[in-house]
Subunit: 69 residues, 2 copies
């Protein structure tokens, strides 16, 4: 299998301390989803992953990393 980790929280703070609410709106999801993603409660769909990366203007792989195991 493998794990997916993400740097959403760090990217939010690096981007002018963007709030969860603002990120959610710009990524087209709810605040609850951002919270769950930051806490690793679940892994995003690939669409949402692309949109979140788009908000920060970085590649998907700069936000989400796959770790083998």
């Amino acid at each position: 299998m493998g794990r997916i980790e993400n740097r959403i929280r760090r990217l939010r703070f690096d981007n002018n301390e963007m709030t969860q609410e603002e990120l959610a709106q710009r990524a087209g999801c709810t605040r609850q989803t951002i919270i769950a993603l930051e806490q690793g409660k679940y892994v995003p769909s690939i669409e949402l992953a692309f949109r979140v990366a788009g908000v920060f203007g970085v590649s998907l792989e700069e936000v989400f990393q796959y770790e083998d195991s």
Copy 2:
């Protein structure tokens, strides 16, 4: 919204005409899933997307593209 497209079928043929069955085994999913992905019947999870890219030795974004709309 937005669409996700993929180049799995092309990558399979470019990689020594790898069969759906072999790709499925190496990516850790079933052949049915590969068929469905190639036909655009659904979009993979981000884990599977990473594993498929890994089989071909390319980045996720070389296999899956997000198109705004």
